[in-house]
Symmetry: C2
Subunit: 377 residues, 2 copies
């Protein structure tokens, strides 16, 4: 049911097709985040028009509200949120570890307090799989522990726990129509990352994720970590770099062989009035745009850029109109999806490696770091 | 440039076509309100998909922000907000009179304080026309004074002022591509309404509006007022009942010969989680909908009803997701636009009068009064 075929290569970069029960994914692919079963401010029809292929939803949020059992009763997540294509859920692990003061980790799992009402809950690897089976996404994730990259002893402990939990997730899984991905951890230590990459690769996962990046390390550390991990992963399985997604990160990740990315950055920036552009990130609230008739990006093919001036977008922002968030989300998501389309085409036509420097220059002004945290309001 | 042709009649109800520089309007028509040059939460593409023909924007709001001169520089309101069809602007009068404590009226105009920053401004009939000419809508409105219907002496004074101002607006108008509508006032007194209807009808306006309703009077008073005014208006000009738009009001208005309606109710209700339905108004926040797989209205053809369950809408509301407002706005606007389509077809096929009782029964549970006030947040 889940097949991954590499269709072209350019250095370590590659294009591929990952077959899922809800359609084929052309990789490398950028995944919009729909935390609470909605890509914020957009209808599924609008998300589809962007060329989005895969959408991510968060297990932690949907478990708390509306509840994974309710989603199952409503026919599963595809039916509930009316996204016809492939879906991916995370394990809930990253979200509960982010709760910092209101969670307690042991070897069996994590006890945490809800950010909504303070009630106490417990996730274990088995519970995470059960929730994700109720939600019913095409790609589901092993329950892992993301450590502080600066705490070596903890990073070792968290990595080892992640490995035990990976085995327990595989044992707990029952649905044949879901692909369970294992997650490589190990902070920014090359020896730990190599050990984790080898261990996770040895298990029968149909895809491998790289977790624990974009959590405070430097860009150089992120790249070095990818340079250690990627060559150790099997060629015939898709590789998913979790929570990473500035334009620069996408270019660097694809060049290192990453197939799947997700990030809240495009929709979060939209809520903060910011737009990706080849001239660098624009803050559309700026008075300089009040009489600017140009679109955000004259080269962009999104509905927002085909239709509206910067002056109108600035007006919507200053007038606090919800449409501003919708139109900026459309643009920011389309910018990243279009960048992935461009890179896929270049891998296939052989121009990828020669164009990487040009893309990195072009998108440099947008490279400010995304924080890889949960996308609650 | 502005022609109105009556195409069918059923008692006092009629269908017609009003020709404007941005296309023909099939009447009777319901007009979504786009106060700040946006129908709240919807793209113009989505507004178009609803079958909306005419969109209203508010002169008071756009004068203050972004400024009518900026809109003119940007190519006018059609270009600025990218609404390709006919637009209507109000005169700003109703909005500034609503400011209650922060405005002062004299025979020449009104001095008022901005709700945004407290700055002082002045509208006169000439200023209102100048602003509306800068905005550039197809249909513009005379500057009028809406009185408290319970204050007889003031109602007389306001009506007389409205008549003088109507003449001044006609004299001030310069653009040939805008239709200036006069406004009948007179509170709920039959003698005053008759006098105002006759006076305004005597002036060379291409259309006539009925103002000062849905401002606190009873339904019976609204209907009695329409029964006095409508027979006195010229048959060959479109009639616009301002700020009125519960489903029941639309049915009663069409039956009395009204051609154009506008109301903030559909989008305002959407922001309060409420939806029109033949079972009465639904509050989708209600826990009873948590596992309800049905659409809001099984007979509705809108995107929301064709796509989403009540359970999903309730989830979006409880999760405070912006998409809830978008999806409910789509439904509520489509419900009224579809009701107008149904009434137009019935006027044309001769079934209108026999179906009015059925429609009034069907929509009764949605009849709670809209307050005719400005649609700021």
């Amino acid at each position: 049911m889940f097949e991954f075929t590499v269709t072209a290569r350019a250095g370590r970069a590659r294009t591929g097709v990952f077959t899922t029960p809800h359609g084929d994914l052309a990789t490398p692919v950028f995944t919009p985040v729909g935390t609470q079963a909605t890509v914020k401010t957009l209808t599924p029809a609008q998300v589809g028009e962007l060329g989005a292929a895969l959408v991510l939803a968060n297990t932690y949020h949907l478990y708390l509200r509306p509840g994974d059992e309710l989603v199952r009763e409503m026919g599963g997540l595809h039916e509930f949120m009316q996204w016809p294509g492939p879906l991916l859920t995370d394990s809930g692990g990253f979200q509960v570890f982010s709760l910092a003061d209101s969670r307690k980790i042991d070897d069996d799992g994590v006890t945490f307090k809800s950010h909504i009402d303070g009630s106490t809950h417990r996730f274990t690897p088995e519970k995470s799989i059960q929730i994700q089976e109720n939600l019913g996404a095409d790609i589901i994730m092993a329950f892992d522990e993301c450590s502080d990259p600066n705490d070596h002893a903890y990073t070792v402990k968290a990595m080892e726990r992640t490995h035990r939990w990976a085995e327990r997730c595989l044992a707990a899984k029952t649905r044949p129509d879901q692909a369970l991905f294992g997650i490589v951890q190990g902070g920014v230590r090359a020896d730990l990352r190599a050990a984790s990459a080898k261990f996770i690769s040895s298990l029968p996962f149909p895809g491998i994720a790289i977790g624990g990046l974009s959590v405070g390390e430097t860009k150089a550390e992120m790249h070095a970590t990818l340079d250690v991990v990627m060559p150790l992963l099997p060629e015939n399985k898709p590789r998913y770099l979790m929570g990473v997604g500035t334009p620069e990160d996408l270019i660097n990740g694809v060049a290192r062989g990453v197939d799947i990315f997700d990030c809240v950055l495009p929709t979060r920036l939209a809520r903060h009035n910011a737009a990706f552009s080849p001239q660098g990130r624009l803050n559309l609230m700026n008075a300089v745009f009040a009489r600017d008739k140009r679109p955000i990006d004259e080269t962009c093919d999104c509905y927002t850029c085909r239709t509206f001036s910067r002056a109108y977008l600035r007006h919507l922002i200053t007038a606090k109109e919800a449409l501003a968030g919708t139109l900026l989300s459309i643009h920011n998501l389309r910018a990243l999806i279009r960048l992935m389309e461009t890179m896929r085409a270049a891998i296939q036509d052989g121009s990828f490696e020669s164009r990487v420097p040009e893309w990195l220059r072009q998108w440099h002004g947008n490279a400010e770091r995304a924080s890889n945290t949960k996308d609650t309001k």
